[in-house]
């Protein structure tokens, strides 16, 4: 799991216990341990740093408010994943996000990078992208194109391959069954590959 805490599980339990009593100092230590992971996941799912920061703030606030409901049956990381995914889904549902994504999609039609890609494709379609793009370039293309696939596919691809969660964990976080996780992943792979095909 990618959400690996910097503190030991025992210390984490103690901190959670203190959080349940309203201890903000203990909560501050938990934030230190998880803030980069939470923010990073939120950013990967949303694709915008400002929005990711706002959502990360809400995630931690929500975690502190509901920490009394955390009974330790799952790991704190899974609990945080669930809160993060739910908050991001709420964000997706908002009209502002929808409008923002639509605007970006339209804008992307005149994206200079896309024009260059088109020129490259038309100018020399035969050379392998692997020959002309380093791994970093591939990653930058991937980051950009990940914003263009559907929220549902982006979510499951990130959880599966970026966060390296098991089918069971994903099913638990997204509240779907494992078969659905696998089939959604298969379709997400096809969509991502079709987008990244020119660069692979």
């Amino acid at each position: 799991m990618s959400f690996i805490s910097k503190i030991s599980p025992e210390d984490e339990k103690i901190l959670i216990g203190r959080c349940k009593k309203g201890d903000l100092t203990a909560f501050s230590e938990l934030i230190d341990s998880y803030q980069n992971k939470v923010f990073s996941l939120a950013f990967r799912l949303i694709g915008n740093e400002d929005d990711a920061e706002d959502i990360s703030q809400e995630i931690f606030v929500k975690f502190f408010r509901t920490v009394n409901l955390f009974k330790g049956e799952s790991s704190l990381a899974t609990w945080l994943y669930r809160i993060t995914v739910n908050e991001v889904k709420n964000f997706w549902k908002s009209k502002t996000m929808r409008n923002s994504l639509k605007t970006k999609s339209i804008d992307s039609l005149s994206d200079p990078e896309d024009e260059n890609i088109a020129k490259v494709q038309f100018a020399d379609p035969t050379p392998s992208p692997r020959d002309i793009a380093s791994e970093n370039e591939l990653l930058s293309h991937l980051e950009r194109l990940m914003k263009k696939i559907s929220d549902e596919f982006r979510e499951i691809l990130i959880l599966r391959f970026k966060e390296n969660l098991s089918y069971e964990e994903i099913a638990s976080i997204l509240n779907i069954n494992i078969g659905t996780v696998k089939s959604r992943l298969a379709r997400a792979r096809i969509e991502l590959k079709s987008l990244m095909e020119p660069y692979l």
């Binding site: 309203g22 903000l24 909560f27 501050s28 934030i31 230190d32 803030q35 980069n36 992971k37 939470v38 923010f39 990073s40 950013f43 990967r44 740093e49 990711a52 920061e53 990360s56 703030q57 931690f60 606030v61 502190f64 791994e135 591939l138 990653l139 991937l142 980051e143 691809l157 990130i158 391959f161 970026k162 390296n164 696998k182 089939s183 992943l185 298969a186 379709r187 792979r189 096809i190 991502l192 590959k193 990244m196 095909e197 692979l200």
Partner: protein, 400 residues
């Protein structure tokens, strides 16, 4: 070879996610050994997996933690226990205390001037009506015109008490408390004679009120004699009453005796009426203990001071006919105070009984004019505004 040529290309994601059956997987793996296109596609899918896993971590902004903590602290302050040293706390507590004080003071004065209907409700309506009827019939305090002129007394009022408490052994029995002593107050004021009876006797059966009332001239200071003392002075009081008040000679001089509870006697009608109002005065002791030896100025002259007392209803019936009905009726508990030849004051103790009174007036054809019907409505509405605690009191004038 064109990558679009192989029919197994769409099978690769399912194969990678383990969605194929064992047979399908075996067949596909067999195909992979010979298909370059599919091998290349599998490699691309896996390279995408690798790229996804290598997406760089994004460090949270430095201010994220401080934003979270400051938000939680602000929420905590809002929800935190009351800071007793804070200015708003004192202001708020002061406001609450002021409200409680106002409510307490308001209730105190309110309860001082209102009748407690619950006392009346303890007796059944029939018992009340029966008692009232007997009371009206029996209690005829003599007052001729000659004697009035002679004594410079224009009105006599006698008040009795009815305590309708249910006894533990027999809930249906009614306990009566009757004044055993009359007090005469404000002798100096011409045209008035203010009388109050104080004391009580207790019986299990209802008897005419004249059997129960013993009156005597009040002491000079208007003291109220205690219960035991009152009982022991029965004979003296009777004698005094007989000598003080002449025998009745006409219908006009008839006084209607009202039965009210002990508590009512202590609490009702605290205001002094306007000069324009009919002089229906009573003497009432204050609630404070030790009142027996109090000087006369401790007693307040009280009357029906409610503004509704100024409302006058004109009924199409003679006063005698109305009184006859009032004596006989078992339907309504009301107080009837004689004002003059054509005027009575009616006091009814609850909204329900007021409605019955209104209905009976109409049924008997005594209904008042349209203008006066609106007055009835006005009385009813006004009393409802006053929380239904006060009585329905009004003047009724008889046309015939």
């Amino acid at each position: 070879m064109n990558t679009k040529d192989c029919k197994f290309l769409n099978t690769i994601p399912e194969y990678l996610e383990g969605l194929l059956t064992s047979q399908e997987r075996t067949d596909f793996e067999e195909h992979l050994k010979s298909c370059v296109v599919c091998n290349d596609a599998v490699e691309r899918y896996k390279s995408l997996e690798m790229l996804l896993s290598k997406l760089p971590e994004k460090n949270a902004p430095e201010e994220l933690k401080s934003r979270v903590l400051s938000k939680l602290k602000s929420e905590k302050i809002k929800k935190s226990p009351i800071n007793i040293f804070s200015y708003p706390f004192f202001v708020k507590m002061g406001e609450i205390a002021a409200v409680f004080l106002l409510v307490f003071v308001g209730w105190h004065f309110y309860s001082q001037r209102l009748i407690q209907p619950a006392q009346i409700k303890k007796a059944t309506l029939a018992q009340k009506s029966q008692y009232l009827r007997r009371e009206i019939r029996a209690e005829k305090i003599p007052s001729t015109e000659e004697s009035i002129a002679k004594d410079e007394v224009s009105e006599n009022r006698i008040a009795g008490k009815l305590i309708t408490e249910k006894q533990a052994s027999s809930p249906e029995e009614i306990k009566f408390e009757e004044d055993s002593k009359l007090k005469k107050v404000d002798k100096e004021k011409p045209g008035e004679k203010i009388i109050e009876r104080k004391g009580e006797s207790e019986r299990k059966e209802i008897k005419p009120i004249t059997d129960q009332i013993q009156v005597s001239p009040l002491p000079a200071q208007g003291n109220v004699i205690g219960e035991k003392q009152a009982v022991s002075e029965v004979a003296e009081v009777q004698k005094s009453l007989a000598s003080a008040i002449p025998e009745p000679t006409s219908e006009k001089s008839e006084l209607i005796v009202q039965s009210v509870s002990k508590e009512k006697m202590q609490t009702e009608y605290p205001k002094v009426p306007p000069a324009s109002q009919p002089s229906v005065y009573r003497v009432q002791e204050k609630k404070s203990s030790g009142y027996e030896n109090a000087p006369i100025d401790k007693y307040r002259r009280t009357s029906y001071s409610d503004s509704l007392s100024n409302l006058i209803i004109t009924a199409n019936v003679s006063k005698n006919e109305f009184l006859e009905w009032a004596r006989q009726t078992r339907e309504i508990l009301m107080r009837v105070d004689d004002i003059d030849e054509q005027t009575l004051r009616i006091s009814i103790y609850s909204e329900n009984e007021f409605e019955r009174f209104e209905k009976i007036l109409t049924e008997k054809g005594w209904s008042v004019s349209a203008e006066n019907i609106s007055l009835l409505a006005e009385i009813k509405n006004a009393k409802m505004v006053s929380a239904g605690k006060t009585i329905f009191s009004f003047i009724i004038k008889f046309n015939k």
